[in-house]
Subunit: 355 residues, 3 copies
């Protein structure tokens, strides 16, 4: 492990080790206050995400390291037409580790392939955001004492919610997980998510009613429903209140249920729920910093090289307009086969299926 | 004392202690170079104010601490509709102390009420900016050796100049203070300022002539007059030169008068005055950093909780369009009574009088 | 030496000493990890240049110092009409050394004249960028073992390329240098550059053919040709490919030639050349950081005051619209005479010849 691009780059054992490291840091942060002394993290935020940036920067500073920060429209050289690879090669002359947020799917992989430094994907378009999922897993582990044998409800916009897809993928690898997918008809999870659960034999139910689902859950993961996702505004108006978590609805839930949310919220969880001991969304923020401390420390001390890539195919063209391969200079298209299905090729960068 | 929202949150004794601390830091900065080691200051500038931001950041770094910096349009999550309270709760997971600048009146109080961390108000709209006043007080103390028994001239835009109102409020608590209020008719101090001085028995005079006022002053506090404040541009043109401090006018002043200005200046003090030993406005900048060092150190080491609030009333509505209570999600209106006048209620957040 | 505004502020001996210092830092960076402990660098980037900013910040952090960073449209006070001198005087109350990038020619000199702190010019308009040239010189020294007795090709836009003009000026002071100036007719070096070489007796040739020039070079310094520089787009289209360095063209070059580029590149060097051991442009980035470490350390420890200025003349007016003297408040015009030609006066700030 040298870079972290996708949560599935990490084995279950590696995730468990990171969680254990993070819990050690929480127990005795002073022991880690100098472990990255003399190291520099470049936080390259080519797309704004202030809370993620602050979480990375705060984590690095708490380890005794230093931070180089790029925000806003990104590197000024990018506006002159510089490629991601050149930007990363330059930053690699200055820093020891890179956390990058970028609006294009696959940008983080291009970055990782351009440098010897560890690269942490802090969000590449609508594609991956693995440190969010690590924060979620640490939160569940700290609240419930385990990552398996849980009834996990996910609620809201399950169609476009990248956070939810990653959480489902990551938790599906633990035993005894059952998902309850709570959303309006129009915002159900995409087929590839249910296909994945079916293939792995993970039980799940789909429902439109948060109230019906609530009594049965160990975890409730809330996300926001955006008005723009609906063709019919009247439908949005009719539905929206049923997906707002209120103190009233919380009476239906178990006394030890854990409410999570990736934040920011707008109004999908009432402020009145904040004082409920089951509300864990601000703990998630704290856990995110702790997980990033564990991860940065791990990547800076781990000499291991990444596993060799699977066979790649170069005869296809990616059709995803947001994929980094559409713009990156002299980048060869590359596709991999989905294991168990020889007919499906996916873009190495954005994972969209080739047609 | 845990947060600093308004200069009047500090007693005269607390201000004197901070001044004494700042003077100790100036005398031997090396002694304080590690006293905030391992701590992080979040400098949240939701509205640009580069010099104030740099002053806070430089102060924290000089204490051995570290800085998380947010500038420009603020947190990206805010543009998604996040409340101030949620932003502050998130940042509280990362930092140890918060300095916040925000365009809305009362935003700093909302922030302080949302967190266990100390919050320093670095300017909330046109309302308060207490560390500016602390810098002014330290400057006067260092230049004159005392904070009482002084003739203090304030010159320029006294109607909209928040800095001047705070300075008058803070200095009115020291014995033997006399104010000379120098401004065009149209830009005199608001009634609530003169009412305050009358109530406390503070002598003051109002004049339109800087030249007449000069010979009599220990302190001259200059501020800028903006063209936009005048309905009649011809009036502005006729007046503006009389409020520009030149080397010529300085000949009318005492040899130990102290010239102050909150900066930035445009042309209200001639560059030729800079080399006059009585010019103290760049010293004010230095003193501002020293005062912020003293304040950050104090707040990070002080376990005291804030005094209980006075009785609050919730039956009124604030009419100030710039008050944070107009937009902050699920924030209950709150008003307090002005002591000695049972008929007047003021908004807890922006202090505007309810009607 | 207290400030660095122009590469020619440094004698050959001072440059050699800085190169030697930088090579010591490269050999044993740990020895320097604390040598600026307790010091603060203000990185004032009033114009975006992310890679230069990161290079300075990373250099200061690697020396154990701290960084105050201003990016984007600059200080908010500047938009209120504050002069450069006032901004610098304020920042001087916070920091120990200043690196400044500014869009106006001569801005760095105004800054240096406003403060007792060392100022490093990180680019003032199209005028000077001396730390770029220092990085170039260190790269040549490390790659070739010497700075004299070299055939130096410079290729691309030689008319507007400030980097190239500085490099020619700096290298002309070493023995045995020969220049090959490779550009389209329309983008040849300005007369003042060839005049300088003629005056100093430096041999040079001018050619339009990169392929013809290649076999003979020790150094090839590439720059970008921008479409906007051509009146006739058809001419640009006809020419552009001949100034793109490809793996094919590299076969014509010596096995020990060194390819340089100030970066960012767009397509003027093919990505395929990156893996050629003669490609040195990313090494230049690394060397830039090392040189800035040597320079910051030197300026912070050097008590020497600058040499007295040559005689100045104040009876002329600068006609350069981008010169800082057009806007800086109460700045007296100043001109110097070019040695050896009593008829020529140049503006002290932008060096443009008075008419």
């Amino acid at each position: 492990m040298r870079s972290l691009i996708d949560i599935l780059d990490l084995s279950v054992e590696e995730i468990d080790a990171l969680i254990s490291d993070a819990e050690s840091i929480i127990a005795d942060p002073g022991r880690y206050a100098d472990c990255c002394r003399g190291k520099q993290l470049a936080a390259l935020f080519f797309e704004p995400s202030t809370r993620t940036r602050l979480s990375f920067e705060s984590a690095m500073l708490a380890l005794g390291g230093q931070v180089l920060s790029v925000t806003g429209a990104g590197m000024s050289s990018v506006s002159k037409g510089e490629s991601i690879a050149d930007t990363i090669k330059t930053v690699s002359c200055y820093a020891d580790i890179i956390a990058m947020r970028h609006p294009q799917d696959g940008a983080a992989l291009v970055a990782a392939n351009s440098t010897q430094l560890p690269v942490i994907n802090a969000g590449d378009g609508g594609h991956n955001h693995p440190t969010q999922t690590l924060a979620d897993l640490l939160t569940i582990h700290r609240e419930k004492g385990r990552l398996g044998h849980l009834a996990v409800g996910v609620c809201g916009d399950l169609k476009y919610g990248r956070t939810v897809h990653s959480l489902i993928a990551a938790m599906s690898r633990y035993p005894g997980i059952r998902f309850v997918l709570i959303s309006p008809e129009a915002l159900r999870v995409p087929d590839y998510v249910t296909d994945g659960m079916n293939r792995m034999g993970i039980p799940y139910t789909q429902t439109a009613s948060l109230e019906n689902a609530l009594p049965d859950l160990d975890i409730l993961y809330m996300t926001r429903i955006q008005r723009e996702r609906f063709f019919d505004p009247a439908l949005y108006e009719a539905l929206k209140d049923s997906y707002i978590l209120t103190a009233d609805k919380m009476r239906l839930a178990r006394p030890d249920m854990c409410v999570m949310h990736p934040l920011p919220r707008v109004n999908e969880i009432s402020v009145a729920v904040d004082s409920d001991p089951r509300a864990c969304y601000f703990k998630q923020m704290f856990n995110g910093k702790m997980m990033r401390m564990a991860l940065i420390r791990k990547l800076l001390s781990d000499p291991a090289t990444p596993a060799p890539r699977a066979d790649l195919y170069h005869h296809l063209r990616c059709m995803n307009p947001r994929c980094v391969c559409q713009t990156e200079q002299e980048l060869q298209p590359a596709f991999f086969r989905v294991p168990g299905d020889k007919e499906i090729y996916r873009c190495l960068y954005c994972e969209m299926q080739a047609r």
